[in-house]
Symmetry: C2
C-alpha cells in the first residue's frame, strides 16, 4: 500500500475508511452535520425490515428484543462517552431530550430560577430552555453569556448550567470537568450537550460528574439522517427525577395498562413513546465500527488532521481567517474559517466534491472525522479551496444564490 | 380466480393484498398493533439509505426535500382523516404529540383547569396528561370517567376533552362530531387520538370541527415499527398556539441560528427536532397503497369482516364473550372477546399462525385490516380458534407462561 501523505502510513485507524461508503470524488468534511453511511447499515436495515418486521411482525418486540433497543443502543454510546452501563438511552430527538433533562434538572433545584447557558450553544437548546421557562411560568430566567464568561457566571442563584461542550460554529471546547465542578460548588447542576462530542472526542461523563447529557445520533455516530438522539442521567439522579413527558415506555409496567403512571427504575423512565425501530436499528449497526476503537486514537488523529488543515489553509488561503481556537486542546473535531464570501466559496467547494458547510454570517465549517478521513484528503481539500479562492471561481450567481435551506 | 368465500368475489379491495408481504401460513389480525410490511417499502428505504444518505449525503436535505418530509407525510395522512392540506405534520411519537397538543390546547383555555378523558383511553394519553398537569403545577385536574359518561361530563369547567376515538381494547367508537360539538358548546376544546382510526375508518376532522388530533403511523398506516406519529391542528388555531417544546424545526428560520425562538407560520411550528428521515421515508412509502383507496370502501369491508368474525365466533366458540359493541356503527375496525384463559388461548392461536393480541385482564383482541384480509381469512381464523378451544390445546405451560413483554 502506498501512502501519498507520510502521516497516513502510521495511522492506526486507516483501515476504518473501508467500513464506510464514501462517494467517488468526494472529500467529506461534514460528518459533524451528517455522518456518512457505514457499509454494514443497508444490509442490517434490510434484515430488520424484511425479516423482523416483514416476517416476525408483532412478535419481534420479544423475539428480536425491540423493547430493549433504546437501552442497547444507549449502552453502545455510553461506552464512547464515559457513561456506565444502564445510564444512557437512545430515544426521541435531541431537542425533545433537552426538554426532558432540563425539566428534570430544574425539578431537583426547585428553589432556584436561573438556567445558565452561552451564546455559542446550539440555538435549539436555548429555544427549548426559554420555551420550558415560559411553560413553567415560575419566573425562570434563561441567562445567556459569552462562552468565556460562563465560569464567572456560575453564581449561587444558578439552578442549571446547560452547555454544549463543542461549539457548533467554532469548535471551541468547554472544560467539562472544571465547569461541572464549579457548578456543583455553587449548588447547581450541569447538563452537557454532546452533539459535537460523541464519537469525536473522548468524553468522561462519570469522571466529570456530569448530571445529565444529551446528544445526536446522526453526526459523528453516523446513525443516519434524523437518527434518534441519546440521553444520559447520572446514577445518583436516576430514581429522583421523572420525565416531564410521562409516556408509556417510561412506565414500570407498560403492558399492565394501568391508568396511573409509575416511572420504571433507572434511565428508561426518560423514554416516552414507542421506539423508532428502523432508525434505532440503523444507529445500532452504525456503532459497530466503534467497537474496537479507542477514543484516544480518534482524538490523536483528529488533532493531527485539523492541525494539518489549519497549517495548509493559512499557507495557501490568506483570504480566510481562523475562527476556531488555535490550541487543539481547546477545540473539538472541527475547524472554522471566516470569509466574507464564505457562502459562495462553500458552494463552489461543494461543486468540486469537497463538502463542508456554512453557518451565517460568514463561517465556513469543516468537520474532521478520523474514521474515514486521511491526511491526504486534507491536503487535497485545501488545494481545491486554494484554487477556488485564487481563481475567484466562487464568484458566480449559482453559488451566491441562497435558495437552499441549509 | 376462485373465491372460497362468496363475499370475497365482490370485494373491491381484494387486489390490495398483493401490495403487502404476508408471511406464508399467517392470518394477521394484529394490524391495529403493527401493520404488515408493504412490499414497496424495502426498495424505497434502500434507495433513501444508499442513494440519498449514501451518495447525496448532507445535500439531500435540499436535493431530496428531506426538510419537507414531515409535511409531505402529513398531507398524505391528512387526506385519510379529513384534514386540509398543510394541517397535519408527521413527527415524534404519539405520546410526545399528545403532550404538545394538550399543552397548546390548555394555553387557549387558561382560565379552566379540567382535562376530561375516559378510562377507555390508551393509558399513555392519561399518563402524559397527568404528567403535564403536574409539570404546570397550576391546579389542573385530569378527570377520567367511563366512556359512556363522557357526554354528560362535558361541563363548563372543562378546558379540554381529550379522547381516543376507537377504544384500544373494545373497539368502541366515540361520535367525534357530536362530542366535539358538545365540547364547543361548553366552551371547551377537543383533542382526538386517532391511533386506531387513521386508515381504518373514515374520519372527518374538519367536518367535525376537531381542534387537535394525533395518531400513530405504525398501526393501520403500516409505516413500520415505531413509525413517526402525526399531529393535526385546526387552521383556526395554527397561529395561536406554539409547541411547549420549542425546537429549531418549528422556528421561522432554523438556519438563521438566531438566539431567540420565533415560531414558523402554520402546523410546522409543532415540529421540534431534526426529522427521522429513515422512519419517515418508510411511512411515506407505506401510504402509497392508500392513494387510490376510498375510506368508505375500507369501512364497508371492515364491517363485513368484523360482522362475519363475530357471527362465526359466537357460533363456534361458546366459551368466548363479545367485549366489543355489537352495533358495527359504534365499533372501529377491531373486535375483542373476553375469555378467562385468553392469554394462553392467544398464544396457542399465534402458534398456529393466527396472530391477534391480548390485553389484560382477559381480552383477546382481533384487528381487521381490509387492505390485506379476506373473508376467507376470517373463516379460517375462527376454525383454528374453535379447534383450540374445543380440544383445550391452549392448556399447556408454554402458552400460559407470561414471560413475554407484550
Amino acid at each position: 500500500m502506498q501512502f501519498r501523505h507520510p502521516s497516513d502510513k502510521d495511522d492506526v485507524l486507516r483501515t476504518k475508511k473501508d467500513a464506510f461508503k464514501i462517494p467517488e470524488g468526494v472529500i467529506y468534511l461534514d460528518g459533524n452535520s451528517l455522518g456518512v453511511l457505514p457499509k454494514n447499515v443497508p444490509a442490517r436495515l434490510a434484515e430488520v425490515v424484511e425479516q423482523e418486521w416483514g416476517m416476525s411482525l408483532i412478535k419481534s418486540w420479544n423475539e428480536h428484543s425491540w423493547f430493549d433497543l433504546p437501552l442497547r443502543v444507549g449502552n453502545r454510546i455510553g461506552r464512547l462517552i464515559g457513561a456506565p452501563e444502564g445510564s444512557v438511552v437512545a430515544c426521541d430527538s435531541t431537542s425533545v431530550n433537552v426538554f426532558k433533562v432540563l425539566a428534570a434538572a430544574l425539578s431537583l433545584r426547585a428553589d432556584r430560577k436561573v438556567i445558565l447557558s452561552d451564546n455559542g450553544n446550539f440555538p435549539t437548546d436555548l429555544y427549548v430552555a426559554s420555551g420550558l421557562a415560559e411553560l413553567l411560568d415560575k419566573g425562570h430566567e434563561l441567562r445567556v453569556v459569552a462562552p468565556e464568561e460562563v465560569e464567572a457566571a456560575i453564581t449561587e442563584d444558578v439552578a442549571v448550567v446547560m452547555l454544549t461542550q463543542v461549539d457548533y460554529r467554532t469548535g471551541r471546547l468547554h472544560d467539562m470537568a472544571a465547569l461541572t465542578e464549579k457548578a456543583h460548588q455553587a449548588g447547581a447542576l450541569a447538563i452537557w450537550d454532546l452533539a459535537h462530542s460523541a464519537g469525536a472526542i473522548p468524553v468522561d461523563l462519570k469522571g466529570a460528574k456530569a448530571d445529565f447529557a444529551i446528544g445526536c445520533g446522526y453526526k459523528y455516530l453516523n446513525g443516519g439522517p434524523g437518527a434518534p438522539a441519546f440521553l444520559y442521567v447520572a446514577e445518583v439522579h436516576q430514581d429522583n427525577v421523572t420525565s416531564p413527558v410521562t409516556g408509556w415506555m417510561g412506565h414500570e409496567a407498560p403492558f399492565a395498562f394501568d391508568l396511573d403512571y409509575r416511572a420504571v427504575h433507572g434511565v428508561n423512565r426518560m423514554t416516552v413513546g414507542t421506539p423508532a425501530i428502523l432508525s434505532l436499528s440503523s444507529l445500532y449497526a452504525a456503532l459497530d465500527v466503534f467497537e474496537d476503537v479507542d477514543m484516544a486514537d480518534i482524538r490523536k488523529k483528529s488533532i493531527s488532521l485539523s492541525e494539518l488543515f489549519i497549517k495548509k489553509v493559512e499557507e495557501k488561503c490568506p483570504q480566510l481567517t481562523l475562527a476556531s481556537p488555535r490550541d487543539p486542546e481547546t477545540r473539538g473535531s472541527q475547524v472554522s474559517f471566516r470569509f466574507e464570501e464564505g457562502y459562495a466559496a462553500m458552494q463552489a467547494l461543494i461543486a468540486r466534491g469537497v463538502i463542508g458547510d456554512f453557518r451565517a454570517p460568514d463561517v465556513m465549517r469543516f468537520g474532521f472525522t478520523p474514521l474515514y478521513l486521511s491526511h491526504q484528503d486534507v491536503v487535497d481539500a485545501v488545494a481545491i479551496l486554494a484554487d477556488i479562492l485564487e481563481t475567484g471561481s466562487w464568484d458566480r450567481p449559482e453559488y451566491k444564490s441562497r435558495a437552499k435551506v441549509t
